[in-house]
Point group: C2
Chain length 275, copies 2
């Protein structure tokens, strides 16, 4: 890379940090990249850090010492998070989402990569201190959110399937009781896709009884991985929930097919959101 002035370094450094979240970048790396003295790089990083912090783009942590450097951790500030959740609630209350059986059409929301990306950044900020090694979700609708979170945390995604497809190789399967229908179902995961001892974050787009999330938690036990959290986009109000340690963005208080009323309120996430 050719030698750059400070203004050029600041643009490139910002780009570089955003492209490499959750990775420790050494001062030496930047010094060589820009053919500049470490003291200049330190000053650059002070400027970058002050803007990242005042504009609340996430955390920029400096690790001192010879093996030290700088790490960018994506997050969404409280205020922006509240705005995001509020817009989600409003969109969910649109009566045209109602499908037979009290289900809600969500694909227009889940189908927006940029919006999912923002939601993923919000969750990444919430779970940043839990040392997540991987994200796990169930096909199909959980995948967009799982990838958005995995992208910001820079960890792999494991996909649980309710069907069994040949291209997964050897699989681990369990039976679980689906909360909504109370039927016994099967879910499987490719044995290669989760390492023993990994700290896994479960992601669910829509949780009612919690049977699916509980099933995923049992799969984790089966492959000797650790459950460090359950991230839920939308939870339905219910009295019969089999799990309670989860973080939700939105809670559906009411879905009334007769009166076409949907009431969505913020979930329990705000207790876990700080900047």
């Amino acid at each position: 890379m050719k030698k750059l002035k400070r203004s050029g370094r600041l643009v490139d450094m910002t780009y570089f940090l955003l492209q490499n979240p959750n990775q420790l970048i050494s001062l030496t790396y930047f010094a060589e990249r820009y053919q500049s003295a470490k003291s200049s790089i330190s000053e650059d990083l002070t400027i970058v850090k002050s803007i990242f912090e005042s504009e609340k783009m996430g955390y920029l942590t400096t690790v001192p010492g010879a093996s030290g450097g700088v790490r960018y951790e994506p997050a969404v500030p409280l205020e922006e998070g509240e705005r995001l959740v509020q817009s989600l609630c409003e969109r969910l209350e649109d009566a045209s989402r109602l499908l037979p059986g009290g289900y809600l059409y969500l694909m227009d929301i889940l189908g927006q990569p940029r919006f999912m990306n923002e939601i993923g950044r919000l969750f990444a900020g919430i779970y940043r201190s839990r040392e997540v090694d991987g994200v796990m979700t169930v096909a199909t609708k959980g995948i967009p959110l799982a990838y958005a979170i995995g992208n910001h945390l820079d960890v792999p995604v494991s996909i649980v399937r309710k069907d069994h497809r040949v291209t997964e190789g050897s699989v681990v399967s369990i039976n679980y009781a689906s909360g909504s229908s109370n039927r016994i179902q099967t879910m499987s995961i490719g044995r290669r896709s989760i390492s023993e001892g990994a700290n896994m974050l479960i992601v669910d787009d829509f949780m009612k009884g919690g049977g699916t999330a509980q099933g995923m938690a049992e799969l984790l036990k089966e492959v000797k991985a650790n459950l460090v959290g359950i991230a839920v986009l939308v939870e339905a109000a219910t009295d019969e929930r089999v799990i309670d340690d989860y973080i939700s963005l939105v809670r559906l208080e009411e879905v009334n097919e007769k009166t076409k009323q949907i009431k969505a309120v913020p979930g329990n996430y705000s207790k876990h959101l700080k900047f």
Copy 2:
């Protein structure tokens, strides 16, 4: 936002442009955001543009005039694209991927959000001139790449399913012949998920005969949308392909179960890649 010096503006501007790809941001917006004169903003953008271009982070297009502004379009430069494809080829040639029936295990690659993100940026650069309105893929394995491309192009993703799930609302279905098994199968898409007349990019993680991609193309006709391209991550060598207008990153020349040989070479993408 509080008034910033040039150094601060450059950091924030870079962040802002990266977070809002493919959107025209007016000079007025930046002038108000930073409480600065438009002439200063113009100078800032000249600096940002020169770094984006010399470091090949993508295109920064300036639109002149009163309604003008600046637009960032993500792309991957030729050289970096070649490196990305080369690393993909090497990973694919690992014999431990071989599954019964000549299939390859791909979930470790598809399961890496950051890697998928880079591949998505490569495809977004390739298709930037085709005015893509939306991305379409088939569940499950196509989803990660489809979202990565959709994210960089800032367009929604529509997911085709081979099962029929109740939460999609009204669906459009077609029958198609799967190339590999020659069986007649069904695929469906939620009627709400694609607009009439939309320019759609089809995404497929693995293409053999092309039956799945052709099925998706027929679904597009069914909902009166336009096919503007077919992006394929890995194509298998075959003499019986039903489609030919696609862009692939990697081509499997040989998958030999007996000798455990896999040979992967770059696909036809490079003809379409320029910077």
